[in-house]
């Protein structure tokens, strides 16, 4: 029994060391990946921050429309949700609300047909493309 107990203790140590070595390998891989590319959050921030150059400084809340608003559009729900969250994260403390109930609206479109949808839902507006499928939409009438 004593030998079994010593073996149990050494096995527990060996298992911990084995798992730690796996953690070490994972750390090495991530370090390599980090040195080769920018993280996706920083990348997204760089895409959406230019929006601020197009809106007045006193605007505290913006609307947000994306592929998920377009009828029959093909999109990934998780991606769409992440992009909305990252847009809010990048633009805080300005509040980003899904929908078109604000004078200034961010558009995030990769699918065709979004301008028809905007025409149906906004009576008058101006649109500027920021790049990477990001648009700033200014409602010219309420």
């Amino acid at each position: 029994m004593r030998i079994l107990r010593i073996a149990a203790m050494l096995s527990l140590m060996a298992l911990s060391l084995f798992v730690a070595s796996m953690n070490g390998r994972a750390a090495y891989t991530k370090r390599q990946e980090a040195s080769q590319s920018i993280d996706p959050v920083t990348k997204w921030e760089k895409r959406v921050l230019p929006v601020l150059d197009h809106i007045p400084n006193n605007i505290t809340a913006l609307g947000y429309v994306a592929d998920w608003d377009l009828p029959n559009s093909d999109y990934d729900v998780v991606d769409q949700d992440n992009e909305y969250t990252l847009t809010q994260y990048a633009l805080a403390p300005r509040i980003v609300q899904p929908g078109v109930d604000h004078e200034w609206i961010i558009g995030n479109f990769t699918q065709p047909g979004f301008q028809e949808w905007l025409d149906q839902n906004l009576s008058a507006y101006e649109i500027s493309e920021i790049g990477f499928g990001i648009y700033i939409i200014h409602r010219t009438t309420p």
Binding site: R5, M13, V19, A20, N23, A27, D39, Q88
Partner: protein
Amino acid sequence: MILKSFAVFLPALAAGFGLVHLIWKNDHGIALILKIFLGSGLGLGITSCLYFLRLLLFPGQGGYLLIECIFLTLILIALFVQKRISLDISPRFLPLSQIQILLSLTVILIGVVAISFLLAYARFAPHGDYDAQAIWNLRARFIYRSGDAWEHAFSPLVNRNFHMDYPLLIPLSVVGGWNTLGSEVLRIPTVLSALFFFSIAGVVFSVIAYLRTLSQAALAVMILLATPGLLLFTTFQTADIPLTYFFLASAGLFVLAGKENHRGLLVLSGMMAGFSAWTKNEGIPFVIVMILYTSIVFGILKAGRTFFSLLAGMSFPLLTIGLFKIVISANNDLFTSNALSEIVSKVFDPTRYAQILTHLTTELFRLGNWPISIILVLFVYGAIMGIKRPGSFAEKFVWIIPLSQFVVYLLIYLITPHDLEWHLNYSMSRLLIHLFPMALCSFFLFVNPPETVINKVQ
């Protein structure tokens, strides 16, 4: 920048250590190590509460460092008055035996790997995980960037998915760090997460070393530091790891209070439980669990004094939470969109129980992302090593704390207004991580330590 970010919190950590040292007059070497790791959470918790009061009372956002320094100065004065300024360290655990040296070297090695893991992820994902961007760091950004108008962070216009009702210990610590350094330094949330992670390891180690043996403590901390899931959650920069810390610290202090029959330790245990509620809403049921646990351990009739000590400790963080709930009247999504009739029908729906249990079995099997089930491994290890008779009553029933919190979590799943499958997938692994260090600590208090086996061999 990592060291600079760490330095921001040093006065709070030192003040926390001083407070524990002031309350618990024990100069045993292990007790002092425990005080360091208890002090980290306590210092950060108290500072964040004081900083919240400062935001409510005065315009602007500066002064985090000043609050830390005032807190530290007051503690130093109290230590000086109480003649507790010198440390009379008694390293009773020296010299180390061969097995202790072997285990210590293994722990150091695994600890170094853990540090390299956290550093690599800090570069790979400097903004943390989705929840950090959607809740914790987002809240910090809202407050920091709003300046004097920091209450704007809680505007009802903010999307409900960003959980405005979540408490502020972590966001305010981040804001305090940013204000001190003068910019949004990404390493501040990273350092906070790492601080709490290593404090968990420190508390597990020193509680077990104090109550049992060094080898037993080393084995426990070895498993903890190697747990991939725990490391991964630390890189997420969410409030889960700090919450895990406060749960563990509160339970650990309660056991020590039972053993030493020390009311000061109960006050500290209550504070830690209170700070868990100031960290995340899951801490609110934990506060209730701790109160109920007190009545079980001490008996309802004898619990008066104990309750008083526990509640005295809880009072400051709970008052801060009360103020927060009054000033920021945001509702909890679990209850606002859940009518009573709907809750009752869910409670009597057997398919929900089956769904929860099926998911739970899978999650328990892969707890902490170990390549083989760590529960199974520990079960076999415990069966081989045998059970040690626990010392105090509090020690004997410490497992009730993680178990009760676990039951609370299962009840929340039962009544959740969200899609159950989504909710289980989204959160069960991290809720189990909240309880893992507490359960691990309880386990190693019940199992025979290696020394008993080795000594018999010698």
